[in-house]
């Protein structure tokens, strides 16, 4: 017989061995040499945490009580794995594509990253898992007690045992589960230790089976004969329970947080699923192969003892200490591996969906991207692991008895199965909404907790009274007889009620509510995951990813800079001759470099497209779109500015050209005006000097000379008057003397003033007296001044052999235009813009009089009168249009 101390020593050694394996695996994985870790067999073995101590020991107990029924909890998962192509493949693909970290994260991501939903699923998972943890602690303690006090199986062993076990497991999980906040939430060390434990427990069970079949009995046929003779020879399970339990366990393998962790989160390669599809059912088959034989032999050999411990007590009864030790380690393995992964999965959920969000709310305003946040998340995870195990321990101590805990396994299954409608609905039905999922889960959770969990957990007197009588004495609310159903199978009743209500409310609320845009996008991503994502690369992406990264970096950063970057990184990693290993540090550095060129979100998406095998999430897409929009806005702003600059430059060029021309004109004018001023001044001076010096001039000559002086000074005065007039007009200080006047009268006056009517007038005026019969309200002197100027210009500049000027009046509605068109050669195009400027005179061969102010003055006058003066090109000769003000006619 093994001593208890010896057993403790062996347990400690075994755990130390697990530590060593986990540590080695972490080390190899970090070096990128853990090829065996990446094998489908390790993946399959890690799935074996489905078989906990409850099934390791309890399956035989169940078989001893109700025959073949124990098989249902193995057949359910088998069904799911046989159907991997339909469901698991999609689940794993989504998990990888969306970088899912837990089942709560999965549900929350599908329904628009809802924090509330994630917290709800987390609470559900914790409530559903805590009793299960208690069950594991109990089984370890119980198996210790078998060795401590052989024969007294139903008495609890040392209380300290459970505390020691819980603390040890917490330590192990913290060390290997929270080493880092990894990109992909994978834990190679843990997974390898779990795989080792899977082998130990299978070996233990098979060894006992072989011992029983060939050591105790004499072969398979003998076992079959013993079954016939046993109390469980007749299989009388009712069909509903058989189907119900199978479906329940099928749901559980999808929804249990720890199963989701190994199945989806720790999945390193999607193709491993194809192997697990047959290897995991095979594992389950081997686990259940000898259950019934052990039960039958136990019933026969050890009547009256606890059938839950036959696996352990049978070898002991036959003094097979070595075998018993192996079984003990198998049970120990089953319990520890379950606890480790469950604690890890729960801590991830608790930290991500409850603690960190609360922390962020408390410390609002701080930058969430600092390294500090990483530390908070890690600490949250560590505390969660300790907390979850403490909860399990407390539950175990509080519930106290084996009776209550024995049935907790299936109860826990049903609890976590409440997530199933939202999970399946989410990945197959785009119409599923967040409100529907939340309401469905909450309803199912509440019914399950009330009908199944509370009666199992309640110990206090108050609770008992409430449960026995129903709240407020309402009988149909009593958990024992929900809806007044008496004598029903409590598990099946609870299953139908909770899952039924859950599915109904989920569907109904999904149908009547409207999802947010984020939900709809995520829904499409989940349901059509195969359209959007490429199959994921292996976890050790290795050289292929580095190659792709280099190609991408070259495109963005340019060949030289990318090459230097990769060389430096490779040298820093100590692998100078090859490409750098795409580890998180390198990826972060590369992402930062790329972000400088293409924006942070785009860089992140590009790098992860290559290394993570993950599709770009909606949030990242939005960020990319944001950046793109910013860049587009920036570039369009630049474009606008450049267009504006071009326009300004053109305007400046035009202005410059005009200034140059004006400058030339002014220079020409200055020389002209100085000449104009000089000529009369010269004559005035010359003749006045003659008058002064020569006293002998006769009166006639004196009179002639005085006349010349007078005429020249008049000419000077006229020139100065013109300049003054223009200045007054330009500054708007002119006074208009408006009166009613006939257009024909004004034209007559102008014609007379220019002297063209007189004989010998060198230009013929052609008028249309009928059209001129218009009465105007205007300043007749000023209007006449304009007409005079136009007529005298025609006199001066018309270069035709027989010059003639046509004055026509055009009426167009309220508008009156008077056009002066001569038959000369007109004004050359390049001078048309300048003729209205001051001091402009046409470059003509004729010697022209005047200072070049006429048209400038006329134009100013017409502007003051409210009309206009324009040059009309293409009329044969020079043509000017005087537009009379509209009010001239109205006021008349």
């Amino acid at each position: 017989m093994l001593s208890l101390n010896g057993l403790v020593a062996i347990s400690v050694l075994y755990v130390a061995g697990l530590f060593a394996v986990a540590f080695l695996a972490e080390k190899r994985a970090a070096e990128g040499r853990a090829r065996w870790l990446n094998s489908p067999i390790v993946y399959t073995l890690s799935l074996s945490i489905y078989t906990t101590a409850w099934t390791f020991y309890g399956a035989v107990g169940s078989a001893a009580r109700s025959g073949l029924e124990f098989m249902t909890i193995y057949l359910g998962p088998t069904l799911v794995f046989i159907g991997w192509f339909w469901l698991l493949r999609k689940l794993v693909r989504i998990g990888r594509a969306q970088r899912i970290t837990s089942i709560a994260d999965m549900i929350s991501s599908r329904y628009g990253k809802s924090g509330g939903l994630a917290a709800l699923v987390t609470v559900l998972a914790v409530v559903g898992t805590t009793p299960y943890l208690a069950l594991q602690l109990q089984s370890v303690t119980l198996s210790f007690s078998v060795f401590a006090q052989p024969g007294v199986f139903d008495e609890l062993g040392n209380d300290a045992t459970s505390v020691w076990v819980a603390s040890g497991l917490a330590l192990f999980t913290i060390i290997f589960g929270t080493r880092s906040l990894d990109v992909n939430e994978r834990h190679p060390g843990l997974v390898s230790a779990i795989a080792l434990e899977a082998i130990v427990k299978l070996a233990a069970l098979v060894a006992v089976g072989l011992f029983v079949v060939w050591g105790v009995a004499s072969g398979p046929s003998d076992i079959l004969a013993r079954i016939e003779a046993s109390p469980i020879s007749q299989w009388t399970s009712n069909g509903a329970r058989w189907v119900g339990l199978t479906m329940l366990s099928a749901a559980a393998i999808l929804c249990l947080p720890r199963m989701f962790q190994v199945l989806v989160v720790e999945n390193a390669d999607e193709r491993h699923l194809a192997t697990a599809a047959w290897a995991f059912p095979l594992y389950l088959l081997l686990m259940s192969l000898f259950v019934l034989p052990i039960a039958v032999v136990g019933l026969e050999m050890l009547p009256g003892s606890n059938p839950d411990l036959y696996v352990l007590t049978l070898p002991l009864a036959f003094d097979q200490d070595g075998l018993a030790l192996l079984v003990f380690l198998g049970g120990f393995s089953s319990a520890t591996s379950m606890v480790i992964i469950a604690a890890l999965a729960l801590s991830t959920m608790l930290s991500n969906h409850i603690i960190v969000p609360i922390w962020l709310r408390i410390t609002v305003g701080d930058d969430p991207m600092t390294g500090d946040m990483r530390r908070v998340a890690l600490m949250a995870r560590r505390l969660s692991i300790a907390g979850v195990l403490a909860l399990g321990l407390i539950y175990y101590r509080a519930s106290g008895g084996t009776e209550a805990l024995a049935s907790i396994g299936l109860i826990a299954f049903l609890g976590v199965a409440q997530v199933l409608p939202a999970l399946l609905g989410g990945i197959f039905w785009r119409g599923a909404t967040r409100v529907g999922a939340g309401a469905g889960i909450a309803t199912g959770f509440a019914i399950w907790a009330w009908v199944l969990l509370l009666p199992n957990a309640a110990t206090s007197g108050l609770m008992q009274g409430l449960l026995a009588e129903g709240p407020f004495g309402i009988g149909w609310l009593r958990p024992a007889t929900p809806l007044g159903l008496v004598g029903a199978d409590p598990l099946l009743t609870a299953m139908v009620l909770s899952l039924g209500a859950n599915m109904f409310i989920f569907t109904l609320m999904s149908l009547v509510t409207f999802p947010s845009p984020m939900e709809r996008l995520q829904g499409a991503q989940f349901v059509n995951v195969f359209d959007h994502s490429a199959p994921a690369l292996g976890w050790q992406a290795g050289a292929a990813a580095a190659d792709d990264l280099l190609i991408m970096a070259r495109r963005i950063l340019g060949s030289g800079r990318a090459g230097r970057l990769f060389q430096d990184a490779a040298r820093a990693q100590g692998r100078a001759a090859s490409l750098p290993d795409p580890n998180p540090d390198f990826l972060k550095m590369l992402e930062r470099e790329l972000a400088g060129s293409v924006g942070a979100a785009t860089a992140h998406a590009m790098v992860y497209q290559i290394t993570g095998g993950a599709t770009v999430s909606v949030r990242e897409l939005l960020a990319v779109a944001d950046e793109t929009a910013q860049m587009m806005e920036y570039s369009s702003r630049l474009e606008r500015q450049s267009q504006e600059l071009t326009r300004s430059a053109r305007r400046l060029r035009e202005a410059n050209q005009k200034l140059t021309e004006l400058g030339e004109q002014k220079d020409a004018f200055l020389s002209q005006i100085s000449h104009e001023l000089r000529t009369p001044m010269t004559s005035i001076r010359a003749f006045s000097e003659l008058l002064m010096s020569d006293a002998g001039l006769d009166a006639e000559t004196r009179a002639r000379f005085s006349g010349i002086i007078n005429a020249e000074s008049l000419r000077l005065t006229r020139l100065l008057d013109d300049l003054l007039d223009l200045s007054v007009l330009e500054h708007g200080r002119v006074t208009l003397n408006e009166s009613s006047v006939s257009l024909a009268g004004v034209l007559d006056r102008a014609e007379h003033a220019t002297g063209v009517m007189e004989a010998g007038g060198r230009i013929a005026i052609l008028r249309d007296p009928g059209a001129e019969e218009i009465t105007l309200w205007t300043d007749p002197d000023r209007l006449a001044q304009v007409f005079i100027n136009l007529i005298s210009n025609a006199q001066k500049y018309c270069d035709a052999a027989a010059p003639e000027l046509r004055i026509s009046v055009l009426r167009n509605g309220p508008r009156i235009d008077v056009e002066f068109t001569d038959n000369g050669s007109g004004i050359p195009p390049h001078q048309r813009r300048l003729i209205f400027e001051k001091f402009t005179r046409l470059e003509t061969t004729r010697d022209a009089q005047g200072a070049g102010l006429g048209l400038a003055i006329s134009r100013e006058v017409m502007a003051r009168l409210g009309g206009g003066l324009t040059y009309v090109p293409g009329q044969g000769g020079a043509a000017f249009r005087v537009r009379l003000p509209a009010r001239a006619l109205r006021a008349a």
Binding site: I82, L224, S233, G239, R271, L292
Partner: protein, 90 residues
């Protein structure tokens, strides 16, 4: 046989292979649940535990073999990095 016909035939085989993979759980469900409907008669008398144990162990093993065969066939039909089902984009 020209090449084109060969390709079509292969695609057709692939699709039927995927159908088989999807239908496998239906077969499994039928085999798992069938017996209880037969045995849950009015008399309530079940069958012999031993015999049914052998039945379940045998179909279980048969399903493992079937699943392994299907996985291997799918792996061959969609070699390298391409996961099954990619071609038709289901």
């Amino acid at each position: 046989m020209n090449r084109r016909l060969f390709l079509e035939r292969r695609t057709y085989r692939r699709n039927r292979l995927q159908d088989a993979a999807r239908l496998a759980p239906v077969l499994a469900g039928f085999l798992f649940f069938g017996p209880v409907f037969i045995l849950t008669s009015e008399t309530g008398v079940g069958g012999g535990t031993g015999g049914w144990l052998v039945y379940f162990l045998l179909i279980w093993a048969g399903l493992v073999v079937l699943s392994a065969a299907l996985s291997a066939a799918l792996g061959r039909a969609f070699p390298q990095d391409r996961a099954p089902g990619e071609a038709e984009g289901d």
